[in-house]
């Protein structure tokens, strides 16, 4: 037993070193005074200041956040509707095609999604004059489409776990289907809806390939900006930007993790007290 354990533990150590050494190296070099990315030239925070005074970066960040906010919200609404429908209506006309449509974007290579969306927008513009120009709208539409299916997957899985009779109870007590959805279904699966939103938000914020195909001149998102810089090589200001992004995510995940842990512990305590009160 012991020997097997030490092998697994060393594999874990190796794996986490593999995960984090590149990121740590990137963080360290973001404080490098030298312009040459791989030669250490002393400690400096100048790249951070350069970053904050770079209007291009800030504009791109704002645009990315706007697109992510809008697309994640609409994707969550559409995706949750599809997830609830697939979990609650076992048979309806066209269900097979529908379940295919919510799985296909998950396995479709991004390049293909990208070129198909672009051809679609160009041909639509040619045929019906819409969309007039590519930019915020087209990118947002493409993001909604490929991130909503992730929400669907999460919501559907959660719905299949939840006790169907809770919804029946609400219906039995006089609620019409839409009231049941508002009063019971959505509150009960709200954690899944929230994690679906978060996932859709990150997917949108992170996307390069589909955005690069569907965007137009003047609409550069943050990943597109990084993409165009990184293609030319390693630069210290990207190190600084990466460090900031990693820190924000790490802090967010840590806070969420601690909050979830606390909530779980409180719930456990409640249940123990209820058990004792019952005697």
């Amino acid at each position: 037993m012991k020997r097997r354990h030490s092998f697994l533990v060393s594999m874990l150590a190796f794996g986490f070193a593999f995960f984090y050494i590149p990121i740590l190296s990137m963080i360290v070099y973001s404080f490098n005074a030298s312009r040459l990315a791989s030669v250490w030239g002393g400690f400096s925070t100048k790249w951070y200041f350069a970053l904050f005074s770079n209007k291009q970066v800030l504009d791109a960040l704002v645009l990315s956040l706007e697109i992510a906010l809008v697309s994640a919200t609409i994707a969550t609404i559409l995706g949750a509707m599809a997830g609830i429908a697939l979990a609650r209506f076992p048979s309806f006309r066209g269900r097979l095609l529908f379940s295919g449509l919510v799985t296909a974007p998950l396995i479709m290579p991004e390049v293909i999604t990208g070129i198909s969306s672009l051809m679609f927008f160009i041909l639509m513009a040619d045929w019906i004059g819409w969309p007039g120009e590519r930019g915020f709208t087209t990118v947002t539409l493409a993001h909604i489409t490929f991130s909503m299916v992730f929400v669907t997957t999460i919501v559907q899985a959660r719905m299949l776990q939840s006790d169907r009779s809770i919804e029946e109870a609400a219906m039995d007590l006089g609620s019409r289907p839409w009231q049941v959805m508002r009063d019971v279904t959505i509150p009960v699966i709200s954690p899944a809806i929230m994690s679906g939103w978060l996932l859709a938000f990150t997917i949108s914020l992170d996307d390069v390939v589909i955005t690069s195909f569907t965007t137009g001149p003047g609409s550069t998102t943050l990943p597109l900006l990084i993409w165009s810089k990184v293609k030319l090589g390693v630069t210290p200001d990207i190190n600084a930007l990466a460090t900031l992004m990693v820190s924000v995510v790490a802090i967010g995940v840590a806070v969420a993790g601690i909050a979830m842990n606390r909530a779980g512990r409180r719930r456990q305590l409640d249940e123990q007290m209820a058990f004792r009160a019952n005697g």
Binding site: E168, S175, D183, D270
Partner: protein
């Protein structure tokens, strides 16, 4: 209102198919206002499907349901004056106890103060007033069951459906809760329909029981009727335990039957059952507690000698398995009335004993 003589709830020739599978077969039942009526049967007997059709979650494939004179066909679950207590209780996990109880009142045209008073009244009824602001996961299983009951009663339904109301409780709590349910039913006067697989639960709770098997109702009657006068081998075997033997009817006398029972090695006198003819094949069934066991030959008919093969001591009573000369086994329960060691028992292993029963205790079933 229902016309005089019309039952409060009438289930008429209800059948339900799920694809090729028939879950409920041509069930007809009449249920009176204010009674506790149980649907009793094993899993898959169709009792839950029948309950779900009453609640409106399933539409019958054929047949009709009349509640208080109104045809319920096509009436949506949310429009039915019928509420249900779910087996899992189905409490809304994100609402407090009082919000749960008050949920149904949202759809009622009542002043806010009236609603609050009604919730209070319900919580008092189930003795949960101190827990009003707790969430379902903060209370015990027994308390959750009472919240579910209060919630289903809050809108004053004409009919309350209870799906295995006691199944999730432990044995001690179950006994106490049984009596609570009965007293709440008496105080509110609501008609209860209980689905259960537990025959003891059905016997104690109900005014009348319908025993179901494979989608069909096999017998309807009071607990005493279905126990003492089962109409079939299935009902006799499902409720309580039974020992049964093939028999032939030899003679019909005044209110009595004489049967030949080869397994017992003789003839048996039993109370007359209408519809049986001389010479017909029948089944003789006897409940273990109706069998008397003694070392000396008792007076009267229906006494047979055998040997104690096995005995199980349960404390308040003992179960004897007596083997007869024909090789047949008979089970007999005897109360251990006296206190003491070995001597307190009526008989020990390998003792020669007499078993006997009164003619009125013998159940004779056709076939």
């Amino acid at each position: 209102m229902a016309a005089a003589g019309e039952p409060f709830l009438r289930i008429e020739n209800i059948s339900k198919f799920f694809g090729p599978f028939q879950a409920v077969r041509n069930v007809t039942l009449s249920i009176n206002k204010g009674e506790i009526f149980s649907l009793l049967g094993g899993s898959g007997c169709g009792k839950t499907t029948l309950l779900r059709m009453l609640a409106g979650f399933e539409e019958p494939s054929s047949g009709k349901i009349f509640l208080d004179g109104r045809d319920m066909t096509g009436v949506a679950p949310w429009d039915r004056p019928v509420h249900m207590m779910f087996q899992s209780y189905a409490l809304f996990p994100h609402m407090s106890v009082e919000k749960n109880v008050g949920y149904g009142l949202k759809h009622e045209n009542m002043a806010a103060g009236q609603k609050a008073a009604r919730v209070r009244e319900m919580l008092e009824l189930v003795q949960l007033l101190p827990y009003a602001t707790r969430k379902p996961h903060q209370i015990s299983g027994g308390q959750r069951q009472r919240v579910a009951l209060a919630r289903a009663l809050a809108r004053q339904p004409k009919l309350l459906l209870l799906d295995e109301p006691l199944a999730a409780l432990d044995k001690k709590l179950r006994e106490r809760t049984q009596f609570e349910l009965m007293s709440i039913q008496q105080r509110t006067g609501v008609t209860f329909i209980v689905v259960t697989h537990d025959q003891e639960e059905a016997m104690t709770l109900s005014d009348r029981i319908a025993v179901m098997d494979r989608g069909e109702v096999r017998q309807v009657g009071s607990p005493g009727e279905v126990y003492e006068f089962p109409n079939s081998k299935f009902v006799a075997g499902f409720i309580g335990s039974i020992t049964s033997f093939p028999a032939t009817i030899v003679e019909r006398q005044a209110e009595q039957l004489r049967l030949s029972v080869p397994a017992l090695g003789g003839e048996v006198m039993a109370r007359d059952v209408p519809g049986l003819a001389e010479g017909q094949e029948a089944t003789l069934a006897i409940r273990p507690e109706k069998l008397l066991i003694s070392k000396e030959r008792p007076e009267g008919a229906n006494a047979f000698q055998g040997t104690v093969k096995d005995l199980a001591y349960f404390g308040k009573d003992s179960l004897y398995r007596v083997v007869l000369p024909s090789g047949a086994l008979v089970q007999a329960h005897a109360v251990n009335a006296r206190r003491g060691g070995e001597g307190s028992r009526a008989a020990g292993w390998d003792d020669r004993v007499w078993i006997s029963f009164a003619p009125s205790s013998a159940i004779v079933l056709a076939g």
